[in-house]
């Protein structure tokens, strides 16, 4: 029952978001102004995140838990210093969301040989696991017989 569900990530000026659609997919950006209930003005400064200033709908954004303390329409340099102060990039790379995206990217890019190697690795791993399991079960059955 979600009666006491609390929102922790808000759309607000300074919120760092990840773009999840379009050519800037996967990149971080900061909200520098809000247009209306559907759109925000956003820039990951172009020098830092390669995201140019643009209006982007919230449908295309995933809010992260990071928020910068910036004014409306903050300058690029402002945002970059706040980014570096808060070590946002480092913290972002530790997020599971980011790690999963990286994993998916790697998997998507593996070629047939890579998939073959993966298959062999899986087989080897499952062989190890099953042999261990067998040993454990025979041990326990020996114990039970007694």
């Amino acid at each position: 029952f979600f009666l006491n569900m609390v929102f922790t990530k808000f759309v607000e000026i300074g919120r760092v978001c990840m773009i999840n659609y379009g050519k800037d997919e996967g990149r971080l950006c900061t909200i520098i102004d809000i247009v209306d209930q559907n759109k925000a003005l956003v820039k990951g400064p172009k020098k830092l995140m390669k995201v140019s200033i643009q209006i982007i709908p919230f449908k295309r954004l995933n809010l992260t838990k990071f928020k910068l303390d910036i004014e409306k329409n903050a300058s690029d340099d402002d945002i970059i210093t706040k980014f570096k102060e808060g070590k946002i990039m480092n913290k972002w790379m530790k997020q599971s969301v980011y790690k999963k995206r990286v994993k998916h990217e790697i998997k998507r890019k593996t070629n047939d040989f890579g998939r073959f190697k993966l298959m062999n690795a899986k087989i080897a791993k499952s062989k190890l696991v099953s042999s261990k399991m067998k040993k454990m079960s025979t041990k326990s059955s020996v114990g039970k017989k007694k």
């Binding site: 929102f7 990530k9 808000f10 759309v11 607000e12 000026i13 999840n20 659609y21 997919e25 102004d33 809000i34 247009v35 209306d36 209930q37 003005l41 200033i53 209006i55 919230f58 449908k59 809010l63 004014e71 409306k72 329409n73």
Partner: protein, 161 residues
């Protein structure tokens, strides 16, 4: 289609009777220069005794936004024909560009009033200061510390495929 903001200056062609006809300037929103000129003649013909065949265009200039990276509140005064009459209206939109706000207005009028672009005539446009904003939906976003959560998020595929 992307609208552009043009300033068009025109007058009647000078004749023996009238050597220096008055010059009129009009600001028009159109997709391109050709349509802008056409709209100029259509509108000015309704207001003054001037038409394309006896008139001349002196200047057509595109007007660009002064600050295209800052969101402004735009007020648009318009006149439109509904099914049963013609009315005046004042609408407000938030956008980076005046042309963006005008595009929003056309879409909004079509959606809310079933009003086609041909029935809409823009009387006046302007940037509204945050203190003078009238519409409740716009007032919400004037506060610089506005914040809201995104409830009911739906996972979307990252591309059209």
């Amino acid at each position: 289609m992307r609208l552009h903001h043009y300033q068009i200056v025109g007058r009647k062609q000078p004749t023996e009777h009238e050597a220096e006809p008055p010059v009129f300037k009009m600001r028009v929103f159109a997709e391109n220069k050709v349509r802008a000129i056409s709209k100029f003649w259509y509108l000015i013909h309704q207001m003054k005794k001037m038409k394309k065949t006896t008139g001349e265009i002196l200047d057509v200039r595109e007007i660009f936004e002064k600050n295209p990276t800052v969101i402004e509140n735009y007020g648009i005064w318009l006149r439109y024909d509904s099914r049963s009459g013609t009315h005046n209206m004042y609408r407000e939109y938030r956008d980076l560009l005046l042309t963006g706000a005008v595009e929003q207005m056309y879409c909004d009028m079509a959606g809310r009033h079933r009003c086609r672009p041909r029935s809409i005539k823009i009387i006046r446009t302007g940037i509204i200061k945050p203190e003078d904003v009238k519409r409740k939906n716009m007032l919400q976003f004037q506060d610089p510390k506005v914040k809201f959560p995104l409830a009911h998020r739906i996972a979307r595929p990252p591309n059209k495929q």
